[in-house]
Symmetry: C2
Subunit: 214 residues, 2 copies
């Protein structure tokens, strides 16, 4: 398998975690989101991924974008260890936590959105950072409630096995820290993030340990 | 089952389509996103859905937010007719199309985001509408490529049976039309949207046919 990734992309970070949990070896192909006007916007990359976003996974004749779709694909093609629980209600809960991050939070703070705020709307750096923290705050508050108020939460987001929701949580918390978001209202999020980062699968997926880190 | 919905919410619209395709009867509970300062922000609704977004599905003791998680839950608990294909690569393709809409496009144009642009960033109506069309244009361009360049595309997004991707596509096209987005570059999207809307499951899910429509 090949993974087109950028060390700092939180969507790519999710997939790296999933690949590591599964123990799948893969070739890392860096796509620099800032160099060359954005390598993800090149015709060559767009032919692989029409959304012009990272990550893209290539598994023989299957080429896939969208981090959550990729992770579910990995879970279906490499079932052990599972990244989703076996029961429908549990699976839905894990997906809902993942989507509270991947649909409600991260898309608002993606690089292309921050660029649009600056270039097209002439937003100041301060207002841009406030925007970032606003959506992270709302998103993590929702996730904190989903975690703190449920008896399904364990050492990780769902029970005592790391899975899809954790693979989304850790990169989001990483981003939040990078933008100095206040995490004090999210103790369960912080606790689970720490528990995850102790695992080699998460540790080796962190931006600082990628071949294109700079 | 009960569905907390708002007639115009495109995330709720997706779930209404899925419920109709499955032939599942449900109680419609309107959550008015504009009245009372936003009924979704009330403590009562937040207790059901900490993200304070519609939709929320209640199925006996299971309470779920996130439209994609809800649709996959319905597909797992009511397998016929399926909303996802049987093979892992096909499932991933359908999920990736759905997520190109639900993660990359719609979250940027959600009501709360448009409000933030107006209230917090003092963006003009023209600039707000340009923002809307920009993200719809990028999102639908990606979806158009995914559809037009694949032999898996049929009468609907994946083969000749409507499913998860179609349930996301039709509400997104509805939104695009509401904001006068130019769809001329997306002929496959437009063709599939039309084919879907001929089906009663899609027709009955449209905003104009909901009990809270105004």
């Amino acid at each position: 398998m090949q993974l087109y990734s950028y060390f700092r992309s939180s969507a790519a970070y999710r997939v790296r975690i999933a690949l590591n949990i599964k123990g799948i070896a893969y070739e890392y192909l860096g796509v620099h989101l800032l160099k060359d006007g954005g390598q993800q916007l090149s015709d060559g990359y767009r032919a692989l991924n029409p959304s012009a976003l990272v990550p893209t996974l290539v598994d023989a004749d299957v080429t896939l974008g969208q981090s959550l779709a990729i992770i579910e694909y990995l879970d279906e093609t490499h079932p052990q260890p599972p990244l989703l629980p076996a029961d429908a209600a549990g699976r839905a809960r894990v997906r809902a936590i993942a989507q509270a991050i991947a649909c409600d939070t991260h898309p608002l703070n993606n690089l292309r959105v921050l660029k649009y705020l600056k270039r097209n709307l002439q937003v100041s750096d301060d207002a841009k950072n406030e925007w970032y923290r606003h959506w992270v705050g709302l998103g993590l508050a929702a996730v904190e409630s989903m975690l703190a108020d449920s008896s399904s939460t364990g050492r990780y987001c769902h029970g005592d096995t790391p899975g899809l929701a954790d693979a989304c949580l850790v990169p989001q918390v990483y981003n939040a820290r990078r933008f100095d978001c206040d995490l004090s209202a999210f103790p369960t999020v912080v606790r689970i993030d720490e528990a995850c980062r102790e695992l080699p699968a998460f540790d080796l997926a962190q931006p600082e340990k990628q071949p294109d880190f700079e």
